[in-house]
């Protein structure tokens, strides 16, 4: 009996040792930080650094194309910060370790289901612990999805100035002022600007909460309108009204939507 369990354990252990190294990506805007982390990770054969990214845009592209299992992610970066990157690739990344100079994001990071949170300069011992955690989790459990990021109260308190949309490897940063209206479509939203339309995996009600309520009005169950683009309102009958936008596009207004508009105007 005991010999049997021993052999099983031994097989399991040897299996782990021979396992493919975990493919990881380092995302940091500072050249020294990338290099130092790469050097430090060279001492951990259980990890394989498959790429270095200088910013969030590169990271989204690399994640989309190379499908790493683990991300070493800096928080403060230009254009897209670490949390923005996660928002855009939430379903594609199994494990994340945040690496940042400040501890003010720690709570937010763990709410985003980060495996660990390392402070710069990175202490090699702490790095080893974090790597251990990842190794222990890989294969042992279903990778934690980064769902709770969406419900993060810290991020929802601030009004958005821009909306991030990913189209394959490409990221679009839309200023909210350029958004004419947002349309709900099943699990997606279609964000219409004067030039084009972007599809994003998100819910209208969630977006509405993060947009300025003085600028965006829910005129219909499926439509959130930027009132700066509202030209006039036409009523077809008592209960049916239509919003005419500045570029002549027409959107339906529901009864409660009309109430919302009246309150705002």
């Amino acid at each position: 009996m005991s010999a049997f369990t021993k052999s099983v354990r031994r097989r399991k252990l040897s299996g782990m040792a021979k396992r493919e190294p975990i493919r990881c990506l380092i995302v940091d805007d500072e050249p020294h930080a990338r290099q130092a982390l790469q050097t430090a990770l060279a001492r951990h054969p259980e990890l394989d650094v498959i790429g270095l990214c200088e910013n969030g845009l590169q990271a989204v592209k690399a994640i989309n194309e190379q499908h790493p299992q683990l991300l070493f992610l800096d928080v403060q970066m230009p254009k897209l910060d670490g949390f923005d990157v996660l928002e855009l690739v939430q379903e594609q990344i199994p494990f994340v370790i945040f690496v940042t100079a400040y501890d003010q994001y720690a709570v937010q990071a763990f709410e985003a289901n980060a495996v660990d949170y390392l402070l710069k300069p990175v202490d090699p011992k702490r790095l080893a612990q974090a790597v251990e955690k990842v190794v222990a989790r890989v294969g042992m459990e279903e990778p934690s999805r980064l769902q709770s990021l969406l419900a993060d109260p810290v991020r929802e308190r601030e009004l958005m100035r821009r909306i991030l949309v990913r189209d394959g490897s490409e990221v679009h940063v839309l200023p909210v002022d350029s958004v004419m209206y947002i349309e709900a479509a099943d699990d997606y939203v279609a964000i219409h600007t004067a030039q084009d339309t972007h599809i994003k995996l998100d819910r209208l009600s969630r977006l509405q909460k993060k947009l300025d309520p003085r600028q965006f009005c829910r005129i219909h169950r499926s439509y959130l309108l930027n009132i700066n683009f509202l030209s006039r309102i036409e009523s077809e009958s008592k209960d049916s009204r239509i919003a005419i936008l500045t570029d002549k596009r027409e959107l339906p207004i529901s009864r409660s939507g009309y109430g919302n508009l009246q309150k705002l105007l």
Binding site: P31, H32, N55, A101, K120, P175
Partner: protein, 357 residues
């Protein structure tokens, strides 16, 4: 100093006014007591005039007997005793004066006149005394209000000065974290560069500390300071940051407010270069023209590059410092031109050389 005599104008007005009052009162009392008006003037007017100086010390008495701290019965009792004592002294002096006049002019009974007018005079004096007591307490209350206001203002000035100094000398802790982080990363790989980095960081900190208390530096020293700062940031930004700084040689010794350039350059990095994914070039030009020193700092900015906008405290405090020092002669303007953010400082050159503190 007695408040009613504080300025020469007030002193003259007071003395002239009191002389007229004395003369008027003399005529009045002469009328009441059937003393010939001319004689009454000679006898009474000088004694009335002297009475003014009996009233003045009351001001100091009022100061030592503040109404809000002493019982009012005690105040009234004390003031009454003083009035009686002063009246007695005055009466004795007046009598002496009348005696002198009597001996000078044999035919006129000045002493008799004086005795006849004594009662009415004492009544008048008591009235005047009460009036002055009230007047003095009023003056004291006004003065105290003004002192309090002055103190508050002074306190506010001190606080705002301290705040300005604090903001001026502020080194953001994040900056130090970043610097330490760079240092930790390069000590192994590039020891020589790490050593150099330490030296520049030390120079940067030394300047920030030393000029936190000194209001004036030369333009050359200011430029060196921001160059140190930029060389530290360049380690962090790598190729994302390039700088292009030029200043006319003869301007380097020009005195300028210390730590004037740093907040602008720090802003340019934090809110400008760092918001652009590709980074960019920070340009600075210092030239002389129109009797002024013109400094222009420009940097690319990506408005959607950061989630948050800056607080603007750096610019506000710098603007305030320039205003305190140069009034309307110095300006700090900022503007956007396409993708560039531009800050322009203009200082008066001649005033700058006077090095106002």
């Amino acid at each position: 100093m007695y408040p009613l005599f504080r300025t020469p104008n007030r002193l003259i007005a007071m003395l002239v006014g009191w002389s007229l009052l004395s003369a008027g009162l003399s005529v009045l009392v002469s009328g009441i007591t059937d003393v010939p008006t001319g004689r009454g003037l000679i006898l009474f007017a000088p004694t009335y005039f002297v009475w003014l100086f009996f009233l003045i010390p009351n001001y100091y008495m009022c100061r030592t007997l503040p109404l809000d701290k002493r019982a009012w019965t005690m105040v009234i009792a004390t003031q009454t005793w003083i009035l009686l004592a002063l009246a007695l002294i005055w009466a004795l002096l007046g009598r002496g004066y009348a005696l002198v006049l009597d001996s000078l002019a044999d035919s006129v009974p000045y002493l008799e006149y004086f005795s006849e007018g004594l009662f009415s005079n004492l009544i008048f004096f008591a009235g005047q005394f009460e009036f002055f007591v009230l007047l003095h307490y009023l003056l004291i209350a006004l003065q105290r209000g003004r002192d309090l206001e002055k103190q508050t203002l002074q306190q506010e000035l001190l606080t705002s000065k301290a705040e300005l100094r604090a903001i001026r000398a502020t080194i953001h802790p994040h900056f130090l974290f970043n610097a330490l982080n760079v240092l930790a990363n390069i000590t192994d790989s590039e020891p020589a560069q790490a050593r150099n980095f330490c030296l520049r960081l030390a120079d940067f900190l030394r300047y920030s500390v030393a000029y936190g208390d000194r209001p004036t530096a030369t333009l050359g020293a200011e430029l060196e300071h921001v160059q140190n700062y930029l060389s530290i940031e360049r380690e962090r930004f790598g190729e994302r940051l390039c700088t292009d700084i030029e200043a006319e040689e003869e301007l380097l010794e020009t005195p300028v407010p210390s730590l004037m350039l740093f907040p602008l350059v720090e802003n340019a990095i934090k809110h400008g270069i760092d918001s652009c994914i590709e980074g960019g070039c920070l340009k600075m030009r210092a030239v002389a023209g129109d009797g002024g020193l013109h400094i222009e700092i420009s940097n690319p900015v990506d408005e959607l590059g950061h989630k948050r906008q800056g607080t603007g405290i750096g610019l506000i405090s710098l603007r305030q410092r320039l205003k305190n020092r140069y009034g309307d002669e110095a300006t700090l303007q900022t503007c956007r031109e396409d993708n560039l953010f531009i800050a322009r400082i203009c200082l008066p050159l001649r005033r700058a050389s006077a090095a106002v503190n």
